[in-house]
């Protein structure tokens, strides 16, 4: 591998600029998302600048490569450049050595889709998005207009870093990197620690961001009884906690969407009757 600053691979005349093109093009991965091939065309489009350099004037092999990456592909978008990096490294190997098992390129892509999407979903949907949105919402509810900017920056800094460096890490260390990290248990420890932050934030948001309370009150022999006061004595924010845990239990039991709709209607009726507000 070349040490030259501007070349990623001198042999194929692949520059950092080409890699940056792949990086920017990867943002359109979902651009032609469809049920049959999912992100395939987006993946192919992202790879084009580098594929052209690798196969040069060999139109037939370039056509093969373009066709190869039209096979179905689907994963969380942020770490997808990692897979592109690995694919580029394998395409180079295949160009040099036509006896290289070309099917392994798509096999690797398929094999990485699942685990990388799992990790990606946990981090990007589960953790970065929640934390960024939680902080953003706490600004927004006070009417502070920096809220959307805080949210976008908090989410996109890790997003851009993973997307950019993922491409290079995938290219240089490819498979070794993933297998090492998975075998050593580093990844699961890291996911666990990120999960601690995520779930603590969820606990905090349940206590602060769900406004449900009970306006119910009775007068029994001249004494006014306000239900919410009793609930607060048991535990502050008891209703939000119960509501969330009940819904969570239902989701975990995989109840039908209809039951959730029914729950919403019950909530509506409770509102009408003045039990909840």
């Amino acid at each position: 591998m070349s040490k030259d600053k501007n070349f990623v691979n001198k042999e194929y005349n692949i520059t950092k600029r080409d890699f940056r093109k792949v990086f920017w093009r990867s943002f359109t991965l979902l651009g032609s998302y469809n049920f049959e091939r999912m992100e395939a065309l987006g993946f192919d489009y992202s790879m084009m600048p580098v594929l052209k350099k690798i196969y040069g004037d060999d139109k037939q092999r370039l056509a093969e490569a373009l066709r190869r990456h039209m096979e179905a592909f689907n994963m969380t978008v942020a770490p997808s450049t990692f897979v592109m990096g690995i694919s580029i490294a394998m395409e180079e190997k295949y160009e040099k050595d036509p006896s290289f098992d070309v099917n392994s390129i798509n096999a690797i892509k398929l094999a990485l889709m699942g685990p990388l999407s799992g990790i990606g979903d946990t981090f990007f949907w589960g953790i970065f998005r929640i934390l960024a949105a939680a902080i953003g919402v706490s600004f927004a509810l006070k009417g502070n207009i920096i809220a959307p900017f805080v949210f976008l920056i908090m989410f996109n800094v890790p997003h851009f870093l993973v997307r950019y460096f993922g491409l290079f890490i995938g290219y240089r260390n490819g498979n070794d990197f993933l297998t090492k990290i998975e075998q050593s248990g580093q990844m699961s420890l890291f996911t666990y620690c990120a999960g601690i932050v995520g779930i603590t934030a969820v606990g905090c948001m349940i206590a602060t961001q769900i406004a449900v309370s009970s306006p119910l009150q009775f007068t029994i022999s001249g004494n006014k009884i306000v239900i919410q006061e009793y609930l607060d004595q048991i535990m502050p924010q008891l209703l939000p906690l119960i509501a969330t845990l009940v819904v969570y239990y239902c989701l975990k039991k995989k109840v039908k969407v209809g039951y959730i709709m029914a729950g919403i209607i019950i909530g509506f009726i409770c509102g009408v009757l003045g039990i909840l507000a």
Binding site: F27, T28, L30, G31, S32, N34, F35, L41, G42, Y45, M48, L62, A63, L66, R67, D121, W125, G126, R129, V137, A140, L141, G143, N144, A147, P148, F151, L152, F155, H159, Q183, S184, G185, Y192, I199, A201, V202, G203, C204, M205, A207, T208, I210, V212, S213, P236, A243, T244, L245, V247, L251, K252, I260, G267, F268, C270, G271, V272, L276, A277
Partner: protein, 251 residues
């Protein structure tokens, strides 16, 4: 009004293209659309507040699983627009936003089926090394998406706002009460969905810490997040050694 409706149509199209062309960089979330709609309708502050409330309700609306059935981009945009136009709060936003989000997601399904057919054309172009042709197909899908999101939103806002205003004005008190209860309960659904992604038995203690810290002490989100980072850090250091040992054993 026609200009405002067009701009709001563009915001809805942006939320769809956010996935298509901007790599899911989260422009579709209500926090952002609330701000943009507020900007168009001349009340940024109220837009951001309603955006924040909708964000809570749709906190669990991720692109995965059950919640992928909701298009929060268009739903949030139209919902916030109607809430601002009628001078009401998040309960109006959710009442109109929710059905829109379900309808638009249905349309999205039709769109993705249609795009499947275009892939065979892309295959032919790939075999002929027609890179320009492939690029064109890739981007024309985005252009179609723009049209499919811009026009319905534009017409909904332009033609619907009068009707919506009339409906909202005539809502009897009991309906408003019911809607308020629903909109204050819905965030529970959002958080439950989040828990579905994150929850493991060994994380329950930290869930309790987060809830109790907020409910009893009144510490704010930022403070509790930082405490959580500190706890996670400690847990990492405690466990890193044993992981390293395992690693050495493997080698």
């Amino acid at each position: 009004m026609i200009l405002q409706a067009m701009l709001i149509g563009c915001i809805a199209a942006l939320t769809a293209l956010e996935g298509d062309w901007l790599g899911e960089s989260k422009f579709r979330e209500p926090l952002v659309t609330g701000f943009l709609v507020g900007l168009v309708l001349g009340d940024v502050k109220q837009g951001v507040i309603i955006g924040g409330q909708l964000q809570l309700i749709w906190m669990g609306a991720t692109g995965i699983g059950l919640s992928a059935q909701l298009d929060i981009g268009t739903g949030g945009t139209i919902g916030t627009a109607f809430a601002l136009m009628t001078g009401k709060g998040a309960e109006v936003a959710i009442t109109f936003g929710l059905p829109v989000s379900i309808l638009m997601q249905f349309m999205n399904t039709v769109k993705m089926t249609f795009f499947s057919g275009m892939m065979h054309k892309a295959d032919q172009y790939a075999e002929a090394v027609n890179i320009r042709g492939m690029t064109w197909i890739h981007y024309s899908c985005g252009l179609i998406t723009f049209v499919l999101y811009f026009f319905p939103t534009f017409f909904t806002i332009y033609l619907g706002s009068g009707a919506v205003e009339a409906i909202v004005k005539q809502l009897p008190e009991w309906v408003t009460q019911g809607l308020t209860a629903v909109s204050s309960l819905l965030p529970a659904l959002g958080f439950a969905m989040l828990m579905q992604i994150l929850m493991e038995t060994r994380l329950i203690p930290f869930f309790i810490v987060g809830f109790v810290a907020a409910a009893y002490t009144g510490l704010d989100m930022m403070a509790i997040t930082l405490i959580a980072v500190a706890i996670a850090w400690v847990m990492y250091m405690l466990k890193a050694d044993s992981v390293k040992k395992e690693e050495e054993d493997l080698l």
